[in-house]
Structure formats: structure tokens, C-alpha cells
């Protein structure tokens, strides 16, 4: 059974924000809400600048689900974490619990009240009739029900952002890292080289025997 995940390759992300734009366009996300955003560290430092695209990571043990006082979250059979906006009370607990800042709250009403939570749905819609106008209005487009992947991942020009079954995209990423011999620092060698080898080093580094090349 598939377990849908995102994986962003920091070696490839060029901070074009194409994923952000694709998400906003595909789901017609309201003003002030960004379901996806690009985070850059060491901005402007030559050789050290890294960017990564971040949204809901659809955690296997999601903290937002644990803290929601009205239990409006659920996980689909594909591992996508979704929520029911008809139940959400906009309390914001999920925002504080989420380590990625994924839950977003639109400003609703004349006094800027916090509206119902909005977040990345892995383009899987929500608990309304699939591909219905009600589902699109509340949650955005349901691309999984069309046999498609999230728009952000499919739009990514450098294919830095991978979306899909965790096993499949980890295989893609692993082969990519093995070919270029570097660049798995963000996700760890376990993801890059497969399970059961904690602390494994790439072949090039084993030959060079660099003591400072310890990776996590």
C-alpha cells in the first residue's frame, strides 16, 4: 500500500517558487495563505546557500492529529493527512504542534478573525464528494482521484521536489545521490542508501577516508 510523501532535494532546488505558484493556482488558495513555501538558508553565501520546499509532510504520526480538540483530522489509506473543515474551529493548536508550520489560517470576516485551518492536501481534496465544486471550494483540486500527483511536484522544473509513494521516491532519490555522490545531507544516508545501514558513507568518501565527513 502506498504511503504518500514529499521529498525535496536541496541540491537541486533553485528557489524558483514554481511549486508555490503551482499550488496556489491549482487549488485557488485564498490570499494570505501559502500551503507551500520555499525556505532558504545561508542566503547569498556562495556555495552554502540551500533551498528546500516545505509544506505538510503528511506525518505518519502527525502531531496535528494528536492535539486537535475536535478530532477533525484523518489519514487516508494512502497515508495522506486530511481534515474536515466543517468540524474545524480554527483554534490554532495544530499550528503550534506542527514542526513544519503547515497549517495556515485565512483572515475571515471584517475584524480579521482567524478562519478555518487550511493546509496542503497532497492534492487529495477532502471529505466531500470527489471532484465536486464543494470539495474544490473547501480543499482544492483532487488530483489523486484523477490518477495524478500533486501539482507542485509535477510542476517542479528541476525535479527537486518529488511526490508520491515514499518507497518509490526514496528509490529515485537514492539513485540520484549515488550517481552524483553527494547531497543527501538533509535527508540522511538511510534515505539515500537504503535501510539497515546507519552511518553509511558513499564509496568516494570511503576511499578518501575523510575524518570530517561524518554525516547524520
Amino acid at each position: 500500500m502506498a504511503r504518500m510523501k514529499f521529498l525535496c532535494d536541496a541540491e537541486r532546488c533553485i528557489e524558483c517558487n514554481g511549486c508555490v505558484t503551482a499550488c496556489k493556482n491549482e487549488n485557488e488558495v485564498p490570499w494570505g495563505v501559502n500551503r507551500r513555501r520555499v525556505v532558504t538558508i545561508n542566503d547569498g553565501v556562495v556555495g552554502a546557500e540551500k533551498s528546500i520546499s516545505v509544506a505538510c509532510m503528511h506525518c505518519s504520526d502527525a502531531p496535528c492529529m494528536a492535539v486537535c480538540p475536535v478530532d477533525c483530522f484523518y489519514r487516508t489509506d494512502d497515508g495522506v493527512v486530511l481534515h474536515d473543515k466543517d468540524l474545524c474551529i480554527g483554534c490554532g493548536y495544530c499550528f503550534y504542534a506542527c514542526p513544519f508550520g503547515a497549517p495556515q489560517f485565512p483572515q475571515a470576516g471584517a475584524f480579521g478573525l482567524r478562519g478555518k485551518m487550511d493546509k496542503c492536501t497532497f492534492c487529495a481534496g477532502g471529505p466531500e464528494v470527489d471532484r465536486s465544486p464543494a470539495e474544490f471550494q473547501k480543499y482544492g483540486r483532487n488530483r489523486l482521484s484523477e490518477g495524478k500527483l500533486p501539482a507542485c511536484a509535477e510542476m517542479c522544473s528541476t525535479k527537486a521536489l518529488l511526490g508520491g509513494d515514499g518507497d518509490v521516491i526514496a528509490d529515485i532519490y537514492r539513485e540520484r545521490v549515488l550517481r552524483r555522490g553527494r547531497g543527501s545531507e538533509v535527508w540522511g544516508w538511510g534515505t539515500a542508501y537504503g535501510p539497515g545501514r546507519p552511518g553509511a558513507q558513499p564509496p568516494q568518501q570511503q576511499q578518501q577516508q575523510q575524518p570530517s565527513g561524518k554525516r547524520s
Binding site: M1, T76, D84, G125, P127, R131, S145, L149, I172
Partner: protein
């Protein structure tokens, strides 16, 4: 006159009793249980028309949907997409 009063009181009684039929307006909290509406599985939908360039699967067949979406995922693998 008496009949009118009787009808009026009957209507008032019916309207008064209708207030007793009020339903709970709050969600009953159950630890670890999702309280919302059930969702449809993606494979229980008809595949989209060809113009939308979506996947192809047999409606209701989870395995065929997963195979379809897997092929879509592998299209992200440029080493296989370009060099083979």
C-alpha cells in the same frame, strides 16, 4: 368560538413540542476517533477523460490505481525517463 380556541391551543401545543426535538449541536469527543464525514477512496472514482491526461485504472480496483500512480511517480525519475 370554542372550536377556534381548541384549534389555536392545538397549534400552540404542536409548536411548543417542536422545540423539544432539538438535536445536539456539538461534536461528541471520542479519544483518537475522527468525527468528520467519511471520504471517498480515489480508486472508487471513474478515471478522468483522456483530455485531462490522468491515470487509467479499473474503477474500484485499488491495485490498478496504485500501479497507475506508480507509473506517474516514475516519470519523475529523469534517469529512466531520458536515458531509456
Amino acid at each position: 368560538m370554542r372550536r377556534g380556541l381548541f384549534l389555536l391551543s392545538a397549534v400552540a401545543l404542536a409548536l411548543g413540542l417542536s422545540g423539544c426535538g432539538e438535536r445536539d449541536q456539538v461534536v461528541v469527543y471520542k479519544q483518537g476517533k475522527y468525527q468528520g464525514k467519511p471520504d471517498t477512496q480515489p480508486w472508487n472514482n471513474e478515471p478522468p477523460i483522456a483530455e485531462l491526461k490522468g491515470g487509467k485504472w479499473d474503477k474500484g480496483n485499488q491495485a490498478s490505481w496504485e500501479e497507475s500512480i506508480k507509473q506517474r511517480q516514475l516519470a519523475q525519475h529523469e534517469h529512466k525517463r531520458i536515458y531509456q
